[in-house]
Amino acid sequence: MYSIRQVVGSREAALETALVLRQVVSKARFSNIQQLIAVIREVGRRLAEAQPKEHSVGNTVRRVLHNVREEYNSATKGATGASRNVYSISKFVLQGQPRKHTGGAAKSEARITLKENDPSDPDSFARALKPVLMEAIQDVLDELETVYDNVSKNAKDHIHSDEIILTIGHSKTVEAFLKSAGHYRNYTVIVAETAPSYQGHEMARSLSAAGISTFLVPDSSIYAIMSRVNKVILGAHAILANGGLFAISGSLLAATAARAHSTPVVVCAGQFKLTPLWNLYHEHGALDFADPSSVLGFDEGKLVERVDVVNPYYDYVGPELVDVFITNDGDHPPSSVYRLIKETYDDDDHEL
C-alpha cells in the first residue's frame, strides 16, 4: 500500500495500482464473481483514497474491473443465458437493442467449465478463472508499460518539418512524443517555463539534449509568440468525460491564446488518464492547490501573515479549446472521449 505521494507521476501510480491489484487477485479467495469484484473494489477504493487527486489510480482499478468482468463473461458465455429473461424496458433503454449482445462470437471450444458457488469445492471457481484474470490484468500492465511508445508512434505524422511547437510543463508523454518526432523531423519547440514550478526548464534541457532546437520563454509571453506557433501540444493530468482536461497550470493560458490565433491544440495522454467523472471542474479543490512557498518565500515573515497566496497546480481546460487527443489508442476529438470512457469502463464502477 503506498503512503502519501511517494509514488510520483500518473503512470507510476497507475502501474503501481495494477501491480497491487494483480497481487490481490492472485491471493484472493472467492467462489463467485461478485465476491471477487467486491474484493477488487474494496482494495481499489482504499488505493484511490490514499491519493484522492491522482485519478489514474481509480481509472486503473476501473479498467481492471472491466477486464475481469469481460473475461468472466467470455468464459461463461452461453452458460448464463438466464440474463435474457430479466430483460425489461429500463434495460432496453440502458443497453439498446438486444440483438447487439447476442451477436458476440461464442467461443465454445475454448470455454472453461466454471462452477460458481460449488459447495463441495469452493476454490474451484477461483482456480479455473485465475489464469485468465491474471492475463487480463497483465494486459492492463502491458498497456501502461508501452503507453509512451504507443502515444508517440505516430508523432511524425503530427509534427512536420520546420514547424514551431509550443508546450508547457514537463509531461513525460509529451516529452516522448516530441523526441520521437525529432528522429524524423527538423522542428523547433518553444517551452514555456511554467512558473512557479519551473518544470519547463527541465523539459527544455531534456529536449535540447535530444538534439531538438528548443527555446525557453517566460509564461507571460505565450500570447505574444502564439502568432508564430504552428501547434500547441499539452500534457494532461486527467481527461474528463466531457472532453475537458486537467493540466498543469498555465495550460489554460496557452490553450486560450491558441484559440485566439486559431492555432490547433493537441493533447497527448495515455488512455489511463480518461476519468469517468463529470463534476470535477465544479470543485475548486480539484485544481489541487499546492503550498504557497514557491510563490512567496516563507521567510517573508510579515507578508505571510497578511497575504493569502493561492497556488493552484492544475488548470481546467474546457473541451471547446482542444482540437484532438492523441492517445495510445488512436486520435480522438474531445466529443468522443465520452464514448471511449463508455467502452473502457463499466458504468457501475464510476463510483468506487
Binding site: I89, V93, L94, Q95, Q97, P98, Y338
Partner: protein, 299 residues
C-alpha cells in the same frame, strides 16, 4: 404480433390527438412500441406474451416514478453551496432536484414567468413554500439576469436524437444567452423522454402547424398594400390609439387569445448549446443521448 403493434400504434395516435401537447407522450409510446417489437420472447402462445408485456409495462411505470429522485441525486453533485440557479417555467423534475439540493446546500433560484401560461409562478410558489429564496423574472429579462447566475437548469418535454432539447418556449433563447455568457446550461430529462426525432429547425417539431407565426391579413383598409407600409400604418394607428388612451385611463395591454394561439408552445434547443443532460441512465453529453437513442431505435 403485427396486429398488436398496429393496435398499439392506433391507440398511441388516439392519445396524441387528445393531448394538447403530444411530444413527451409520443416519446413514451414509441419507447413501448419499440420494446414490444424487439422483446425477445420465448413464450409460445400469444396470451402469455401479452401478459408478460403487460407486466413489463407496469414494472417500468413503477420504476419510472423513482427516476426523478435519481436525477435529483445526480444533479446534486453539480449544485455548489451558495449557488444561484436560473430555471424556466415549471418542471417537476427540476423542482425535485432543487428541493433535494435545498436539503444540504444553500441555493437561490431565479425563475422565469414563462408567459403566457405563467407556470413560473407555480414554481415560485413551490420553492418559496420550501424556504428557498426565489425571484420571478420576466421572460424578456433573461439576458439581464444571466450574469448573476451560476448555471441554468431546465426540464424537458423531450430530448431528441441530435441531443437537442424540446422544452417550453423560451428555453432556446435562454440557452443562447447562457452560451453567450459562458454559463453551463443543464437539462434534466427522464429516459422515457428520449424521443426519436431529428428536428433541424424550430419548424420541424411535430407541434408546429401553419397557424403558428402566420400573418393574418389586416382587416383595415391598408389590405393589399406591401408589408412595409402596413407596419407604418399600424404604428400610426397605435400611436393615435395611445394618444386617445392617455386622455382616459391607460389600457391594459395584453395579448388576445388569437394572438397567443399564433405562438409556439415549445421550442427546440440545439445540442451545441446544452452542456449536459442529466437522466436516470446517467449524466450524458448531448452526443451521449443520441447514442442511447440509436441503441434503442436504429438497426
Amino acid at each position: 404480433m403485427f396486429e398488436l403493434v398496429q393496435a398499439l400504434n392506433d391507440s398511441a395516435e388516439e392519445l396524441k390527438r387528445r393531448s394538447p401537447n403530444p411530444i413527451s407522450l409520443n416519446a413514451g409510446c414509441e419507447l413501448f412500441i419499440a420494446f414490444v417489437t424487439l422483446f425477445p420472447h420465448e413464450s409460445d402462445n400469444f396470451a402469455e406474451l401479452k401478459k408478460e408485456l403487460e407486466q413489463q409495462g407496469r414494472k417500468y411505470a413503477a420504476e419510472a416514478i423513482s427516476f426523478r429522485d435519481k436525477i435529483a441525486e445526480l444533479a446534486l453533485g453539480f449544485i455548489k453551496d451558495d449557488s444561484v440557479i436560473l430555471t424556466h417555467s415549471y418542471s417537476r423534475v427540476v423542482l425535485k432536484a432543487l428541493l433535494h439540493a435545498h436539503k444540504t446546500k444553500r441555493i437561490s433560484v431565479y425563475v422565469t414567468e414563462s408567459r403566457p401560461r405563467g407556470l413560473g409562478l407555480k414554481t415560485y410558489e413551490a420553492l418559496t413554500a420550501a424556504g428557498i429564496p426565489c425571484t420571478v423574472v420576466l421572460d424578456s429579462a433573461v439576458a439581464y439576469v444571466m450574469d448573476r447566475v451560476d448555471f441554468v437548469l431546465v426540464g424537458s418535454e423531450a430530448v431528441v436524437e441530435s441531443g437537442g432539447l424540446i422544452n417550453y418556449v423560451g428555453s432556446n433563447q435562454m440557452a443562447i444567452i447562457a452560451k453567450a455568457a459562458n454559463k453551463p446550461f443543464y437539462a434534466l430529462a427522464e429516459s422515457y423522454k428520449f424521443h426519436r426525432l431529428f428536428p433541424l429547425s424550430q419548424y420541424d417539431l411535430p407541434t408546429h402547424n401553419p397557424n403558428i407565426l402566420s400573418f393574418s391579413t389586416p382587416t383595415a383598409r391598408s389590405a393589399g398594400q406591401d408589408s412595409a407600409s402596413t407596419t407604418v400604418a399600424s404604428e400610426a394607428s397605435e400611436k393615435s390609439s395611445a394618444n386617445k388612451g392617455t386622455s382616459s385611463s391607460p389600457p391594459e395591454r395584453a395579448m388576445t387569445q388569437e394572438q397567443i394561439a399564433k405562438n409556439p408552445g415549445v421550442d427546440y434547443t440545439r445540442p451545441d448549446l446544452i452542456s449536459l443532460v442529466f437522466s436516470d441512465v446517467g449524466i450524458l453529453t448531448p452526443e451521449g443521448v443520441s447514442q442511447y437513442l440509436v441503441g434503442m431505435f436504429a438497426g
